[in-house]
Amino acid sequence: MRKKKLAGVFMSFMMAAGVLAGCGGAASTSGGKDGDTIKIGANLELSGGVASYGQSIEEGIKLALEEINKEGIDGKKLELVTFDNKSDAAEATSGTTKLISQDKVAAIIGAATSTNTLAQVQIAQKNKIPLLTPTGTNPTITNKDGVLSDFVFRTCFIDPFQGTVAANFAAKDLKVKNAAIIIDSSSDYAKGLAAAFQTAFEKNGGKIVKEEAYVAKDTDFNAILTNIKSANPDFIFLPGYYEEVGLIIKQARALGIEAPFMGGDGWDSPKLVEIAGADPLNNTFITNHYSSGDSDPKVQDFVKAFEAKYDGKSPDAFNALGYDSLYFLADAIKRAGSADPEKIQKALEETDGLQLVSGTMKLDKNHDPIKSAVILEYKGGKQEFNTKVDPE
């Protein structure tokens, strides 16, 4: 009796799997065409640990969606299907499967972090659906061990570039010689930035005097910070995400570490200032994709439109990259003249000289954009524009 029941369960499971597989196959050929709309999926961190990234990107995408749909693309409108991956890699994977097999989207935007994007790469590749991450900066997303993931793209620059810019800024502008590095060892992003920073900093004649590590969700950093303090560095590179970064800076200042801290775009969240406090954040810097203080007219138009839509809220880099991602995709769909995922992929690959808020878009052979970065400084809990660095 029990055996029969088990067999029944097994059978129904197999049938369900069969149906799902069928859907997947159908999606890759019909590809999101549904009358007069083109479906675009968004697989974002709308809740969970890094919810602020996903929510910001979504705001940017929605503004772009409104603007693009005023005219439409060759008479067709874009339709956005969002999925909340809860800042979890496993959820991100199942979300992409759902977007492709059930919603039959033509392309997917997401996720915000490198780890959650990497979790989707294989599925996008297998189903031949373009996957565009707005802010996943880890190099392996588009090119792993020398093999190009040809359906995967990104709107942002990559980790080595951010790490190199930070190292050059530390060595040349701040003129520091001894640096310490604190790595979030559970994050591909932090490890990528740290490696690039170390190479470039040592090339400039600097020395790494101490390296410490933590894992996401830690709350007490006093022990590693005491180690850092006794090594007495004059600069600390901290390429983590805002939750831990905020706590680390707060605890470091309480221990009497006065050296400047610097990190990447992972710091960019209003929560950082809430967690660390405004005073401890003085004398800290970040590299970022864009600054609302940039005087470029394209940037200023975007800032105005964004503030009008979101009650005067000033757009951050995630807002800008979300906005740019949909324009990047819309431009490709327009040039492809079709919502066929494979034609969109071809058009995305050929993008050259597209003017976006976060700089001019041109892709190198690894599908990585070549574009400029900005350096921002925290003063009294506010980001201030410091310099703009062009790629070499």
């Binding site: 919810a51 410490e212 590590a213 007490d220 022990a223 706590l247």
Partner: protein, 292 residues
């Protein structure tokens, strides 16, 4: 000097563990149940404190009180709904239920308010660092250490000097005999849960003040560490929880100081395994031979 600073770091980390472990050990001492939901009551306490401070605009001490009272009620509810029907069931059934309650509270919280973190406002208690022989001691960690000590003494007093404490010890010794002697066992157990959960609520608010960031899954790791601390000191023994918590904090700090920061959490559980192998009754426990 660096070593001294690491000791201070360890003590301030350990006093949080101690604060949570007090509630753990008390519930175990009376009901012989490892209440895995304790870490999550701690989380709820942190959030109630946060909302009292930000939405109701209250100061630190009123928020602490509200949080303790709400957590006490929550603790009693958990006991009445989840554990009471299982009082005569096997130990393992009660243990599994405790894990279920823990998950229910965690994900219930995420369902209600989302998983994003909140930051405690930083201006409630002056956060000054006191320089002592070149060692920085933050005033907040002194406050937490002081709170744990006071609560420990209070708890010792309640258990050993009051009528309800006497009832608790009687119930712990033999539930049926206590009932025959006219002790209201249900009320006594409820009181135990109320006091234990109120302590967890206090720990939650203190944690929020000290570490700023709170989120719905924040109770898991401190809860497990506090469990280790309670076992280390001898589960069921109140001063044992205090010493176990402080000791665990110092061990973790020294492990990080030696350059093994990534092994820190692992070491806490190695300590648990070692203590279970070599001294199962804990540092303060006496070996009691089991009656056959």
């Amino acid at each position: 000097m660096e070593f001294l600073q690491q000791l201070v770091n360890g003590v301030s980390l350990g006093s949080i563990y101690a604060l949570i472990a007090l509630g753990y050990t008390m519930v175990y001492g009376i009901v012989k149940l490892i209440n895995f939901a304790h870490g999550d009551v701690f989380m709820v306490g942190a959030f109630i404190g946060f909302y009292s401070i930000t939405i109701l605009d209250l100061g630190f001490f009123p928020s602490l009180l509200i949080s303790m009272v709400t957590c006490a009620i929550l603790g009693v509810l958990i006991e009445r709904i989840a554990y009471k029907p299982l009082r005569n069931a096997t130990r393992i059934a009660a243990l599994i239920t405790a894990i279920g309650v823990s998950l229910l509270i965690e994900y219930g919280m995420i369902y209600v308010r989302g998983a994003q973190p909140e930051a405690y406002p930083g201006n409630l208690i002056p956060a000054t660092s006191i320089d002592f022989l070149g060692v920085k001691v933050s005033s907040q960690s002194l406050l937490i250490l002081g709170t744990s000590l006071v609560l420990m003494i209070l708890l010792q007093f309640i258990v050993h000097k009051t009528k309800i404490g006497k009832a608790m010890r009687a119930v712990s010794h033999d539930m049926d005999a206590a009932r025959l002697m006219g002790i209201n066992v249900n009320n006594t157990i409820s009181a135990t849960f109320a006091i234990g959960s109120a302590l967890a609520g206090a720990a939650g608010v203190a944690f929020g003040m000290y570490y700023t960031k709170i989120e719905p899954l924040m109770g898991i790791i401190p809860g497990l560490k506090a469990f280790v601390a309670a076992v280390l000191g001898g589960i069921g023994i109140i001063p044992g929880a205090m010493v176990g918590g402080l000791l665990l904090g110092v061990i973790e700090s020294l492990v990080s100081a030696a350059g093994f920061s990534l092994w820190r959490d692992g070491v806490a559980f190695v300590v648990l395994i070692l203590i279970l192998i070599f001294r199962p009754a804990g540092l303060f426990g006496k070996n009691v031979r089991e009656k056959v």
